[in-house]
Symmetry: C2
Subunit: 246 residues, 2 copies
DNA sequence: CGTGAGCTTGACTTGTTTCAACCAACGTGG
DNA sequence: CCACGTTGGTTGAAACAAGTCAAGCTCACG
């Protein structure tokens, strides 16, 4: 698959160099777009490229976006915030992830998206993307798979928040992230980059920062994992999996 | 809109008599299908009809369904259950609701669906439905709107479960249901049919049955609402809205 | 050198769960 | 017709998980 990248870059549809270098290229919608452009009728779909610094917003809830962003590099989080400041992170976005498939059909964003690290992303014109969906069946297939996955994670999130203990929620969050990173070859010997702050873990798991801290130091003391210098190692995968109830 | 129903019933695509009588007909995917069949290229799409008794399953998680069910009458709940019995209800399904849009693309069900009252539903062949989506743009539009709504409620559920108190969750559940029923003209003077058992409210809000009971009797004592004989009246809409933080 | 963001830890409070007993309504079968 | 189990609801007491408040620490940054 990788040997085609050069062709893809120079085809009528320019995925751009960066996207093909992205670790998640094969599972990326960008890739699907490129494939579709090669195999189906040609299309000119030139996404704009953007870079945002850590802690900056990519979009806020209720913004009208005429564009569908796909993450190419870095970590981001999509979240909802209540008027009184309570916040719930709905998902962490890694390279290859679409911010939300809903954006392809509805320009108003349901949630705000914040860069955790520095983030590079491509923005595809919504109308063009939508049109391409109709003309390129393989793209549509890929897209519907992404959509189904998105729904599955939303369901998982609901049962995690509604019915699981703090320990389970945090252990599962770490496993889910490690799985996503593994798919992208960003996990080696159970070690991964881990740019999350405790308050972000709290917002993702529906807990308070303090409690996240105590649970994590519990895990550390139990020899399940180790976090330092923005890097996380799962020292006892079996043990952590037991805690996570996976 | 209603005066077309007769035509619709007798067009090449037979929605059937029952569906057109459904209180949710205008916002129904069945209706969109009927419209599409009339206006676009003709299609033959004959859903099968089913009736299931209260407390029976319509499908269980991981079932392979070659069919997309749309509720025509009654209440149902879609839920996920953990091996140890913990359960989370993801949504209540009312007439006009598709069980899950994901079923159109992926035959394996992500959750189990249980009838709360007796339920009548129509099952459309997945492949036929999917094909119709491509040939009938208006159907696709309607469908994508349903998808976006589905995503929005999933997001709402996440923040409710993650960040709201028991009082808020229950009050909001009642408001959300009353809104859905109002759309279907099934709400009069803040009174509605309410077939839910406390344990179902508990599973929907991530609480225990006992706590749901105490919160509800709190609401009752505060004069916010009144439940008896499977019927619920919101006596103090403003007060309940304040509790719900809407 | 001060300031602020992030992490850790401890003491205390609170919301929710757990356990338990009890009651009412209902269906079923003797 | 009554005896019986089942399901659903109510209430109270005790236990517990997680939240709140607070202090002290490190570290990066201007």
């Amino acid at each position: 698959m990788r040997e085609n990248d050069a062709d893809l870059k120079s085809s009528t549809f320019d995925v751009g160099t960066a996207c093909a270098d992205c670790p998640a290229f094969e599972l990326n919608l960008c890739h699907a777009l490129a494939q579709a452009a090669k195999q189906g009728p040609p299309m000119t779909l030139r996404p704009s490229e953007h870079t945002v610094a850590a802690r900056r917003l990519i979009c806020r809830a209720r913004d009208v976006l005429e564009v569908v962003p796909i993450i190419c590099q870095g970590w981001a989080a999509s979240a909802v915030t209540l008027p009184d400041g309570r916040r719930q992170i709905l998902s962490f976005l890694l390279p290859g992830d679409v911010v939300s498939t809903a954006l392809i059909f509805d320009p108003v964003s349901q949630c705000s998206v914040e860069a955790i690290t520095e983030v590079r992303y491509r923005a595809f014109k919504r109308t063009e993307f939508k049109a391409a969906l109709h003309t390129h069946p393989s793209l549509f297939d890929k897209f519907s798979r992404v959509w189904v996955d998105e729904k599955a994670s939303a369901n998982q999130l609901a049962i995690d928040l509604g019915r699981r203990t703090a320990d389970e929620r945090i252990a599962r969050l770490i496993f889910n992230l490690s799985n996503k990173l593994a798919q992208r070859s960003l996990l080696r010997d159970w070690t991964m980059d881990f740019p999350l702050r405790q308050h972000q873990i709290a917002d993702a798991t529906g807990l308070t920062v303090v409690h996240v801290g105590t649970v994590l130091s519990g895990f550390r003391r139990a020899g399940l994992l180790d976090i330092n210098d923005r890097s996380l190692t799962i020292s006892d995968p079996a043990g952590l999996r037991r805690v996570a109830n996976m």
